[in-house]
Symmetry: C4
C-alpha cells in the first residue's frame, strides 16, 4: 500500500509484497525528491494526497526505490493502513473494452512467432504501458532500422543433432541470447521481472536485471533457482555511494556480470511516451496551465531517470574495478573507437546497441556497428571473434532466431532480447514468456539445420552476406504527380462477385 | 475409399483410382506412425474413426504413401467398403461462396499472364490448399525477393524466325524451363500431378516428379506419353532402404535425372500454412487445450516431412552413384562453395534455389547465387556456362519469360517453374495448365525478338546488366509483420473536430 | 464512310475528309488481310457487315492504310453511300458519364504542368483509347523507371536573356525537344496528328510523323506551314517495295530526317491494352468460345503491326542509303555497342529509347543508356557530345523541362516527347496542345535561369550528378512525421463530379 | 488603411501601424506598377476600387513597398480616411470552420517537436497562407529530400554540463542556428516578422531580415532589443539605386551581415501556390477567360518578385564591396565551384541551400552540397571547417537539433531555420515561437549528451557517417502484379472483437 499526502509517498507493495522478507516504512518529507520520482510531479501528489495510490505508483517505482535513493533521515516512518482512504477504482468504458479484448485473445497455441505477441500486446496492454514499452527516440528512425544481412547456407552436412547452446562470460546458456534489461516490468504484469527470472531458469538462459526494474533487485534475485546465472545492468547514480552500495550488493548476491549503461547520460526524448502523459491528464486544465505550469511533458522515461549521472566517464572505470570483481561490460557502445578503448582497459566486453532506438535517433543498428568493430579490432589488435577474452554483444530489433544467428556469424557471442519478452508476458503472463522462449528454441533448431550448422561454432562469417550493411538507403521521395497518374495494371477479376477479401 | 478407426487408415483412392492397376489394402496398427502421417495427429483419427475420410486424406497422402513408407507387417488387410460409415459432407456457406466464385471465373481467354492465374487461384482454391501452396518461411522475405537484373537488348538482327528450344541434361525441351517438383498436387485439382504430365507432353517440356506428390509415382509415370522425358525429385528417407527402392524403381521406369533435395533437412516453418491449421479447428476446444495439448501447429508442410533425413551429407553421394546410373543433380545449392564441391564430385549439375522461399528466410534468390557461382567456377575451375558437363539450374519467383531469359543469359541451362503451374490448374484445371505454357511460348517468342536473339544461344551475358544483383536494394520487400506491428508516431491533433482533410 | 461486308472495308474518311484532296475507293476482297488489319478479326467484320463502321474503323486505320498496304488488284471499287445501312449509335450510360466528365474539365488556365493533362485525359478519354495510349510492356517496370539525375546549378550569371532554342539535324528548333511519333492519334481527337502539326508550326518545334498515324501521311504533311520541318518515323514493311514507296514519297514531300524504328521487330505485349479488348466484348460469348476461338487477345498494338518486318537487320541500312538521301537515324538503340555500329555506318544519329516502356520490359531508361553511350563513344572513337555529325536523342518519361535539360547536359541533342502531347489534346483539343508547349517554354525559361545557363550550350555535364544512374534502387523507413506533414501536391481535378475511379 | 481606386493603393498600416513613427501617404498613379505589385493584377484593383482593401493588401505588401519601390513623383498624396468605403467582411462557412479549428488547438504543452507545429499550422492557417508557406518547386522532389547522414556517438565523456552556444560571423548565438529569411510573415500572424525578432532576443539567436517581409525593414529593426544582432537578406533590384539605398540603410541601422540571394534570378514555379490562386477566383469567370485572359496563374511567389534582377552576376560583387562594409555572404550556393569563387573574392561565407526546395527542382540538399564543398575547398585551398574566415551555412528541411548537429559536425558554422518558425507562430502566435526555440534548446542539450560532446566544438566529422549522402536512391517501382498477388502474412488476431485501431 502506498499513500501520498502533500509530501508523502508510501508503497503498498512494501507492506504486502510476499517477495520482500524485510522492509522499512517511511514517508517522503522532501517534495522536491517526490517531484523527481513522480512523473506527474506535485500535482499528482496533490491529486492522490492521503489516498491509496498504489496502483499508480507501483509499476513506476520499485519497492527499493525509496530505500535505495532516499537518505534515511527523509523517511518519516510507517503508515497506519486503516487511516488511509482508499482510492475508488472506477472501471472506465475504455478499461471495459480492454478487458473484453483480453478475454478475446487467441489461445497461446496460435502464437507462432514473437511478432504475434507484439500484435496482441498492443491490443491488450493499458495504453500508458504500451506507450512506454514501444516508444523510441525522436522520429524513431533508428528504432525501425532493419536486419539487412543475408544468409548463405551450406548443404549436405549431418544435422541430425543440432545444438544451439553456447557460453556467455563463461556461463552456459541454452541459446546465444540473453534477456536484456528493460525498465518498469510491472507495467505489463503485476509480477514484473520475476516472470523473466522464472522463465530464464526453466529454459536455461541468462537474465540481466535492470536498475529500473519494477520489482526490487532482491525480489528478482530471490526468484531465481539455485545456481541460476544473472547479470546486472547499471545506471550510474550521481551519488557514487548509492552506486557502490548497489554494485557490491549485487556481487554479494551472486551476480555474474555488471553491464554498465554508457549510452544514456540522460534518457532520450520518447515522444510517443511523452504524448501519452498529456492524454492521461484533464485536457481543459492542461490547457489553462500552458507552458508556464509544471512540466509534465517528459513521460515515464525521464521521470525515472533523473538520478543518472551525465558526468560518468572513462576515468570512472578504474573505480569500478576497485569496488567489484565482477566482469565489467559497457552497454551501449556505438563505434569501434570506444570498443577499442574498452578492450585496452581490459574490460570483459561491450554491448553494441542503440538502446532499442530509444536514445540518439539516427544512431546505427547494433549489427552494423558489429561489422565495423570486428573489422577494426582485427586491424588494430589482431583480435578474432567470437572471443572469450573480450566478448561482443548486440541488442535491438531481434524478432527471429535468424536475427540472432546473423550476429553470431558476424562475431557476436550472444544477443540481447528485451521488448519481445515484455510483449510476451504482457499479453499472456508467464505462459506467454514460456512460449516465447520455446518459439526461439524451435527457430534455432530449424535454422541451424537449414544453415547446415550442427553447432553455434559452425555459424561462421562466410554464411552471411553483410556487404550491404553500411548503406542505409534512405529513399528519396517519389514523384507523386507521376506516380498518381500512373494507372496500376489490374488483374483479371471476377465478373460480378466481390473478391474474397 | 479411406477409413480410419482408432488405429486404421484406408485410402479410397487405392480402391477406385483408375490410374493404379495394382494395389494392396492395409490398416495402420501403429498410432505413432499415423501421427507422423497426419497433420492432425491422433485427434483427427479419432474424429473420423470408422468413417470414410478420403476427402481429408487424399490430397495429403499419395496412394503409395503407405506401401512405400509402411513395412508390410503393419498392414492389416482390406476393408469391406460397405462396413464403412460415410462421412456426411456438409456444404458450408463458405464453400457455397467459393463455388460461386468458381462459377464467376473469367473465361480463360482473358488470362494474359501467369500472375493472372495466381489472382484467380487465390479466390477459388480452398483456403487450406491456398495456404499450403502460397506459404513460405518465417517473414517470407526471401519468397518475395525480386528479379533484379536489367535487359540490354540488341537491335537490327534478323528475328523472323526465333527458336527458344534447348536441351536439358541432353534431352530436348521446347523452352529453357522445366516443371519443377511441388508437393501435394491434388490440393488444387483431383487429377493432381498428372495434369502436369499431360501438359508437359503436349508442349514438349520436362516434368520433375516430386517425392511428395499426391498422385503416386507410378500414376505420374503412367500418365506420360511414350518417350516423354521425366525427372525425379528425391527427399532422402532416414531409412535408406526405402530411398534405394524409390530410386531404383524410378530408374527402371525410365526417369532421366535424379534431383536430390539438399536444402531441406527439415521442412521450413511456414507460418501462413501453420496458422491455417488453427482456423480449421474448433477454436473453443483449442482454447482449452492450450499449449499443453497435442501440437497441431506445424501445418501440412511439416506433417508430411518427418521422414526426411537431416543426417544426409556429402558422404552419401557415393552411395547414390552405386545404386543408380541416373545423372545426379543437387537441388537447393545456395553458395559457390557447395556448387564447386558438386562439380568436383562429378555430379551432373546443381539447382540454385532457395526452395521457393519456403526454407531459410533471408536466403538469397537463385539468380543472385547464379552470378556468384558462374564467376567462382570460372575462377576456380575455368568453367564457362551454359555448360553441357555441369549444368546450372535456377528456380523460384519466375513469372515471365523475361525472368527465364535473364537466368539463361547469365549461364543457367534452364529454369524451374513450380507454383505458377499449380495456380494455373487449380484455377482452370488442365486447360489452365495448357494456357500457362502457351503464354510462356508467346512471351519467349516476343522477348527473343525484342532482345535481338534468334536462338537461346544468342542470349548472352552482355544482354543483362546484373551489376546490381548483390545489393538487395532493388525493391527488397519490407518485413510486413514488423512493419504492421510498428505503431506509427502521431502528431498533435485537434481535440474534437475532424481534420480539415 | 466506311462499310464492311463479309469481305469489305470502306473508310468514310476517305470520302469526306477535307484534308485528303485525292483518294481512291476500294473494297477488300482478301479476308485474311482484313483479319490482319482488324483487331477484332473476321468476327468484327461480320458484326458490322454491310453497315457503316467508320466510328470503329477510323482511329485504328489511317486513310492510306489500304492504298499503302493493299495491292490495287484487291480493291473492289467505290461504294454507293446510300446503299449502306447506318449503324445506330447508342449512347450508353457509360458514355453519358464520360460526356459529363468532359463538361466538368477544369478551365485550361488551371493546367499547370504536363502531369495535369494526363490526370484529365485519364478521366475524359474513351477507355479503349486510354488503354492504348497508356499501356506498356508486361509488368510495366520499364515504363515507370524514373528520372534519377540531380542538378548542380550555377549562380551569379547574367540570365536576363535566356535562350533555349537549338538545332536538330541542322534545323532550328525553339526548344531542345521534338514531338516524337506515336500511333493512332485519332483515338484522342478526330483531327489526330494534324493537331500536332499545327502546334509544332506555331511553337517552332519539329514533329516526327508516325508510320501508324490515324491521319494519312499526306494529310499530316499538308497540314504543315510552308518551310515547317517534319521528320518521319518508319516501321519497315516485310514488303520492301511498300517501304521504298513510303520513304521516297516522304523525301519527295520534304521530310528532313528518317527515323527507322529498330526496337520493334514485333510490337510488345501491352496487357492493359489487351485486357481492354475483352471487356469491350460480350463476356458470355467470349466465355463460350474459350481458348479455341479466334484470338482477339492482342489489343490494338499488335493488330496494327503485323506488317512490321522482324527480319530487318544491319545489312538493310545500305539499301536505305541507296533509296534516300534523307539523314538516317536509328530509333530504339539500347546499348553502346549498337550506337557505335550506327556511328561507324555513318548514320546521322540514334534515339536512345525503350519505346516508352512498351516493348521489352526491364529495358533501361533512355537517360541511363545515354550516360553509357557518351562514355563509350568517347572511349572508342574520341567523340564528344552534343555532336553535330552524330546526334544522340532520348525519349521516354519526360514530363518537365528539367527532364529534358538533364539529357541535354549529359550529351543529348534533343529529347522526344510523345504521350504528354497526346494527353494534352485528348483532354483539351488543339488548345490543350498549345498550352502544353507553352508550359514547356515557361519551364525552360525558368530552369535555364535557375541553372545559371543563358543558352542551351551552357547546359553542361558538370551541372548534373548522374553518378547514381546505373543503380536501380531502394529503401529504409521514411521519417513518418515529416512525411505525414508533407501535403501532397494535387492534380487539377474535375469540379463537381466524382472521379471515374 | 489602404484604398484602391482604378489606379491607387493605400496601405492602412501606413496610417495606423504603431511601429512606424513617420510615414508618407501616397496613391499609385501607375497602373503598370500596381499590376507588378499585385498578384491579382488590374482585375483585383478594379474589384476593390475605392474600398478599404487592407486585409487583402497587407500581408503581401510591406508598408515600405511603395516608399522603397515607387519614385516619389508617383505618390498622389494622403487619403481622407472617412471618404473610403469599407469592404464588408463576410465570414464564410469555411472561415467559421477554421475559427473552430483554431479554438480546438491542443494546449501548447502538448507540442513536442517542430513537426507538431506544422501539423497544427496546416489545419488552422488560411488556405492561401498555407499554400504560400508550404509550396515548393515543380514536383517538390527537392523539397522533400531527407536528412541522410547517420550518427556515431561517443560514450563515457563527462556531459554534466553541455554548451551548445557558438559564434556566427563573430557574434554570439545561443545555438548553432539562425532564423533565416522567409517572405510574407503576416500571412501567418498580423505581427509578422516582429514575432521572430522578439523571440530571437529572448533566446539569444540571430534573425535574418528578409527583403520580402510583410513588416517593413524598420519595423523589424525597431522591434529588436538594444545590441540584438540582425542580418539582412537581399534580393537585388534591377534598379541598383533602390538596392544601394536598402543596403546602406541596413548598414546604418546596425545590420551585421548581408546575405545576398543568388539562387533566385526568378522565383520558382510553385504549383501548390499557383493552384491556390485559381481556387480563390470565381471559376466560371476563369473558365470563360481561358488562356487569353490576364495571367493570374503565377501565385504569390512570382507576384512579389518581378523586381528581382536576373542579370546579377559575379561582377556585381565588387560594387557591393564599394557600397557597404558589412560582411557579404552569398545565399544559395549549390556547388563547390561557386563556393570556391566566393572564397577567392574574400567574401565572408556562403549559405549552401536549395532555397527550401522552392527554386530548381532536383537540386541537391544543403547538407549534400556541404560535404562536397568541405572536401573540395580543402583540396583546392587547404581550408578546414568550421572556419572563422570563411563560414559555411546550410538551410532547408531542418526539423530537429540532430539535423543541425549533423551539419555542424560536417563543417557548417550554423544552420538556417525558416518554415518551422513560421508554422510555430502561425499556429500559436508569439508563444508558439517561444516554445519552438525552447524545444530546440531541449533537443540540443539531449543530443550533445547522447553524442558525448560537451560543446559544439566537440561535434566532429567522425561522429557522422555521411558516406551515403551522395546516393539519392530513387526507388525503382515495384512489380505491382507480383505484389498485389502476394498475400500478406497475418498476425494472430482476436477472435470476435474488432481491433483497437
Amino acid at each position: 500500500m502506498f499513500t501520498m499526502s502533500q509530501n508523502s509517498w508510501m508503497p503498498r507493495s512494501v507492506l504486502n509484497d510476499p517477495c520482500r522478507p524485510s522492509w522499512q516504512a517511511f514517508v517522503l518529507s522532501d517534495a522536491e525528491l517526490a517531484l523527481n520520482l513522480s512523473p506527474g510531479g506535485s500535482k499528482i501528489i496533490l491529486k492522490y494526497a492521503g489516498k491509496d495510490a498504489t496502483q499508480e505508483y507501483d509499476p513506476i517505482h520499485p519497492p527499493d526505490a525509496i530505500t535505495t535513493n532516499l537518505p534515511p533521515e527523509k523517511h518519516l516512518g510507517p503508515v497506519a493502513p486503516d487511516t488511509v482512504e482508499k482510492v475508488q477504482i472506477v472501471i472506465t468504458d475504455e478499461e471495459k473494452a480492454r478487458q473484453a479484448r483480453i478475454a478475446a485473445r487467441p489461445p497461446l497455441d496460435e502464437i507462432l512467432n514473437l511478432h504475434d505477441f507484439e500484435a496482441i500486446a498492443r491490443q491488450v496492454m493499458a495504453e500508458k504501458a504500451w506507450a512506454y514499452y514501444s516508444s523510441a527516440a525522436d522520429d524513431e528512425i533508428t528504432n525501425r532500422e532493419n536486419h539487412a544481412a543475408y544468409h548463405r547456407p551450406r548443404i549436405l552436412r549431418d544435422v541430425t543433432k543440432v545444438d544451439w547452446s553456447t557460453t556467455i562470460l563463461g556461463h552456459k546458456s541454452s541459446m546465444p541470447l540473453y534477456i536484456t534489461a528493460t525498465a518498469l516490468g510491472k507495467l505489463g504484469h503485476p509480477d514484473g521481472e520475476m516472470i523473466l527470472t522464472r522463465a530464464a531458469a526453466k529454459h536455461g538462459v541468462i537474465q540481466m536485471i535492470p536498475t529500473l526494474a519494477s520489482c526490487s533487485f532482491d525480489e528478482i534475485v530471490d526468484a531465481a533457482q539455485p545456481g541460476q546465472v544473472q547479470f546486472f545492468q547499471l545506471y550510474v547514480n550521481k551519488d557514487r555511494n548509492i552506486t557502490k552500495r548497489l554494485v557490491q550488493h549485487a556481487e554479494k548476491r551472486g551476480i555474474k556480470g555488471l553491464f554498465i549503461t554508457v549510452d544514456a547520460p540522460q534518457l532520450g526524448r520518447r515522444e510517443k511516451d511523452m504524448r501519452m502523459k498529456f492524454e492521461a491528464e484533464d485536457p481543459s486544465e492542461v490547457s489553462k496551465t500552458g507552458s508556464k505550469g509544471v512540466d509534465r511533458s517528459q513521460g515515464a522515461a525521464r521521470a525515472i531517470s533523473s538520478f543518472i549521472d551525465p558526468g560518468l566517464n572513462w576515468n570512472d572505470l578504474k573505480w569500478f574495478k576497485d569496488i567489484t570483481a565482477m566482469p565489467l561490460i559497457l552497454k551501449g557502445v556505438q563505434c569501434w573507437e570506444d570498443a577499442l578503448e574498452a578492450y585496452d582497459l581490459n574490460l570483459a566486453g561491450v554491448v553494441l546497441s542503440n538502446h532499442g532506438g530509444r536514445q540518439l535517433d539516427f544512431a546505427r543498428s547494433g549489427i552494423e556497428i558489429l561489422v565495423e568493430v570486428v573489422e577494426k579490432l582485427k586491424e588494430k589488435r589482431g583480435l578474432t571473434f567470437p572471443n572469450e577474452q573480450f566478448q561482443l554483444f548486440v541488442d535491438g530489433g531481434v524478432r527471429r532466431a535468424t536475427d540472432v544467428l546473423k550476429a553470431v556469424a558476424l562475431g557476436a557471442t550472444a544477443v540481447g532480447v528485451g521488448r519481445p519478452f515484455l510483449y510476451a508476458y504482457s499479453s499472456y503472463g508467464p505462459e506467454g514468456m514460456d512460449k516465447a522462449l520455446q518459439i526461439l528454441h524451435d527457430e534455432f533448431e530449424m535454422n541451424l539445420r537449414l544453415l547446415g550448422a550442427p553447432t553455434i561454432r559452425d555459424v561462421v562469417p562466410e554464411m552471411v552476406d553483410a556487404s550491404n550493411i553500411h548503406s542505409h538507403l534512405v529513399a528519396v521521395p517519389g514523384d507523386r504527380l507521376y506516380d498518381s497518374n500512373y494507372e496500376s495494371m489490374q488483374h483479371a477479376t471476377l465478373r460480378e462477385l466481390k473478391p474474397k477479401l
